[in-house]
Symmetry: C2
């Protein structure tokens, strides 16, 4: 079968469309015929060696929709979360490293990770959901407990997780403020339901603008930037606010403990989600909700797809079409 | 009546033992005849102007035990917490600023803030409980949810809150590791039940020593230092660990978001506690538990008492004896 393999570290240019053996299913596993897959920043980080436990060569890819026993299925990319819904088992892994992933014609996964696909979604849309939807759902609902009428800040709109977090937060009845370095992305976000957008590149005092738009203080902030963005978010929260941290691409944050203790904040880390989160997340799509697809590439054009994500040009998910 | 008043900012030397009018009780208030009071770092900070909303002249003092209608009572220093047990009402205040406090022969407080004193405690011991006990109880129990068998780090043992946190954590069945810059304080903490102590002044790699003593990772850390201490604590936690922040005397902390999201941490701010926390905290003393009294000063020697706290020489609470 054809598979997009990472042969060596050094960025997306090290990906190769190889001919490899079909995967074999272990006793508790199944082999899914992949129709479409989607990229995550994790995949780009792995090509650059910025991820723990990399083994090469390996087929990347955490997100996939495909066929199994006549059903159309989506795959939960969290393998071996464990028994505690509050946090993962440290031995858990994510599909696509170290285990071979979805950027191939077939992928072997545990049977427990296969779920029926929401019927109204196209293959490309369904492929856009798994990792980003799981992360966003856990951030907004399980950890963030976003409620109707609350004001939520989503820092850095445009990626798969934040665009789905926007949809879930609006579905929950929240008011949503987004930030981006791109006016075009802010415009897209408004079209998706965001109530306000702030460009942090052209507005050096973006945090003051957010405070003003929020009418004083935020109830919830959802951030994967870290750095100054996270520090500012802590200072923007109301008493009893919740700051959900699911990444840290800007690196270390210089924070004021005063904001945390004086305002009784909950600063809650999250990564991926439990099987229960995945099942609950899929139900959010039963009512006709659709994820945002940025662009669709053929599997053979995988390097171009990776570069689009690497340059942060996308709004929504970048899809790899594997088979018709 | 006699009252220890702060007339001007400039440190403890600005305190004066004045003769002032008796306090008057508003309709929902009572006047308690104070027997003993206790100092908190808050009082020292106020003398230096390091606190919001200072009004002068004012009688300081958040902690007090005294007599009311023939009963011996302790006073909950949190005035107007509000209806939500999760966090305080922003209009709430703490006894002793801006409202006149307990460093006087009489103090007026809301009737709802008066609780029966645990009978086995001396006046000095009972005075040691209110603010520190409320803060420690909320940190260990309400926010920290410390459970039997867990390993808890208490950074900077010696102050009133951390010594009571030690007692509450041991009462909960936890293993407790403490840090201090003083071997004498570590020895005192061990005598109180601490399982291990690390001197962060003489052991530059104190966090590695803590990790080793913890057998890998901590379940809970309780910190009011901030700065490097808080940053190290985040890195020492197990997956699913809880870091409780109730102060930040070292100032800003340079933290790694990775520790928070990858380990699904709960970083939880807390300050004071609800009326329910106060009542539950007092029950912890029903079984014979006693707080640690460092030294007892007469009210007229208040400046010396403040200086002892300001120089961080104490282990346990510094008490002001107001009347016999």
């Amino acid at each position: 079968m054809k598979a997009l393999r990472l042969a060596a570290l050094g960025g997306p240019a090290q990906l190769r469309l190889d001919e490899v053996d079909l995967p074999r299913a272990a006793s508790d596993e199944v082999v899914v015929k992949v129709r479409a897959a989607a990229l995550n920043h994790r995949d780009v980080f792995i090509t650059k060696g910025l991820y723990p436990g990399i083994e090469l060569p390996r087929t990347l890819g955490s997100d996939g929709v495909g066929e199994l026993e006549g059903r159309r299925v989506v795959i939960d990319p969290m393998i071996g979360w464990g028994d505690d819904p509050r946090y993962w088992n440290e031995n858990g892994t994510i599909l696509g490293m170290p285990r071979d992933g979805t950027f191939a014609e077939y992928v072997a996964v545990p049977r427990a990770n296969v779920f029926d696909c929401p019927p109204h979604l196209s293959d490309d849309e369904a492929a856009a959901i798994p990792l980003a939807g799981l992360t966003a759902f856990r951030a907004v609902v399980t950890r963030g407990r976003v409620a109707a009428g609350e004001t939520v800040l989503l820092t850095g709109i445009g990626g798969g997780v934040q665009t789905l977090a926007l949809l879930f937060a609006k579905q929950a009845g929240a008011r949503v403020i987004v930030t981006s370095s791109s006016d075009a992305k802010l415009e897209r976000a408004r079209a998706l339901g965001a109530d306000a957008g702030v460009n942090y590149r052209t507005d050096a005092q973006w945090y003051k603008t957010v405070r003003s738009l929020a009418g004083g203080h935020l109830d919830v902030a959802i951030d994967s930037a870290g750095g100054e963005t996270l520090a500012r978010a802590l200072d923007l929260m109301r008493t009893g606010g919740r700051v959900i941290v699911y990444g840290g691409t800007q690196g270390e944050a210089q924070i004021r403990p005063f904001s945390i203790f004086w305002k009784h904040l909950d600063v809650l880390g999250t990564s991926m989600g439990s099987p229960g989160d995945f099942a609950a997340m899929l139900k959010r799509f039963r009512n006709g909700l659709r994820p945002v697809v940025d662009r669709v590439f053929a599997l053979k054009d995988g390097v171009a797809a990776f570069e689009r994500l690497d340059q942060a040009e996308q709004f929504g998910k970048v899809i790899l079409r594997v088979s018709a």
